[in-house]
Symmetry: C2
Subunit: 282 residues, 2 copies
């Protein structure tokens, strides 16, 4: 009876190369085909990712690193296009509902969430708990489908939420399908700042946990993102046997313990991930 129904961590920049727009020689962005204005516009929209609330022009200018004039012009443009809303009294901007249309085009065009849906529903029914489908995105996992636990009457989890890979069961399940080098590189690029006092930040220990996944078939995390939250996850494999995402189930203490999670939920996540893997390969 709690409102914790999944990893709700907001998309903190979990990459080391953080900060404002990098302006180093970049083969990608130096290409004359690259339109810099577009990058700036999106940097404005993404400024709202980390700082949930609304933002003032000045804050946007500071967060994005684009100047005051630029912030002004891009905010004006985005408001005109309907992707930002401006509160005329406070002059603060906030993301507008039109943004949902963009995510809709992803969800509608990409079969993974619709193919996975019935299996996720089944997993939720079998477990009664919150079930999530996540895919890798940089050093994070991004949740593309989320089901609240059947007895959560408080909140429903939000699609598009992100959590660091290194300290989530979802992330470690996915990582277990990569080569040692790939895992190591990703961890090196991750910001291993602890989120709770249970977050494991020692690279060797993380590697050991990831290695465990290969033996057991599932990954677990004990309150590493949210105090009181226990999660278990299994990887979904692509045609080349590399991970393309993972299924996880989240529960809370003290109703659950790591032992009961392992006993009751491991078979469900593994079966679900396996079913989705098969469904996707057809």
């Amino acid at each position: 009876m709690t409102n914790i129904s999944g990893p709700l961590i907001q998309a903190k920049n979990t990459s080391k190369k953080s900060g404002s727009l990098m302006q180093k020689a970049n083969p990608k962005t130096d290409n004359p085909l690259f339109v810099g204005s577009v990058e700036k516009a999106f940097s404005v929209l993404q400024a709202f990712g980390q700082h949930k609330k609304s933002l003032s022009l000045k804050e946007i200018s500071e967060i994005t690193g684009i100047g005051k004039s630029a912030a002004q012009r891009f905010c004006y443009t985005l408001v005109e296009l309907g992707f930002l809303e401006r509160d005329d009294s406070s002059r603060r901007m906030r993301p507008a509902a039109r943004l949902l249309g963009l995510s809709h085009s992803y969800l509608a065009s990409n079969p993974i969430s619709s193919i996975a849906a019935p299996y996720l529903l089944q997993a939720r029914e079998n477990s009664g708990e919150a079930v999530n489908l996540g895919i890798p995105m940089d050093q994070d996992v991004i949740y593309i489908a989320r089901l609240a636990s059947t007895n959560s009457h408080i909140a429903h989890p939000i699609v598009g939420g992100r959590a660091p890979m290194f300290c989530t069961s979802s992330g470690r399940a996915y990582l277990s399908t990569l080569s040692q080098d790939e895992i190591s590189d990703l961890l090196d690029e991750s910001d291993l700042t602890p989120i709770t006092r249970h977050t494991i930040i020692d690279k060797q220990e993380i590697l050991r946990k990831i290695d465990d996944v290969l033996n057991k078939g599932y990954a677990m995390a004990n309150q590493e993102c949210i105090v009181g939250e226990l999660t278990i996850a299994a990887p979904i494999l692509g045609p080349d046997h590399k991970g393309i995402g993972s299924v996880n189930i989240c529960v809370t203490r003290p109703a659950w313990t790591m032992e009961s999670v392992e006993e009751k939920l491991a078979p469900i996540v593994c079966q679900t991930a396996h079913n989705i893997t098969l469904a996707l390969s057809n």
Copy 2:
């Protein structure tokens, strides 16, 4: 036992003033603060809205009305930024998961969906059927929270989906809170093309149905968007008693009839919409 769990109509351009980017004197876009490149970039992303599948460069160029070179540059840019994915073998573009981050910033910043969530869950529990929360967007309703019916084991509805206002219960529930002039104007700007053979397209008849909502407190639609789908909706009011959205419940024939919907579901939608209205005003 069907997979129809809500209005899944894709965002057909329901405005009359359709077609490519308008290049008439427009006080909004003529403002020197307006950055045209941003508009073009979003027009590329939105091209995927109506045409679910992936798109080739040429198709994007044609749909958006921006030239071939421009399509090339904006696609390159969007791919680099990670908002589009390019299939190297087919050279076709499709929306990428990173777009979910944008919708997440909306959902996380706007309290409406989280405040409404518990009431929607309750409505779903009481009805067992699919429940949606929609808000107005141009001539459409956009669904910002969706719950599948408890016995839908097939699919889950996608947030961000749109459906025309004039022929949905959600839309007409919302419209009923506007002034006659506002309703009339919106209908005039709507593309009243029938979607099914049950779609009501006569303006007078639509106005009559909207007027009915004022008496009954709820709107209904009989297979106007999807054959076999019956829906009922009630408006959510803002502080000024103007609508800010609506709650609807969708069911399917032949398990349900218009009569049974009215009898069983009207009290639920009305109560839910009322509860959400109250919750938002606090």
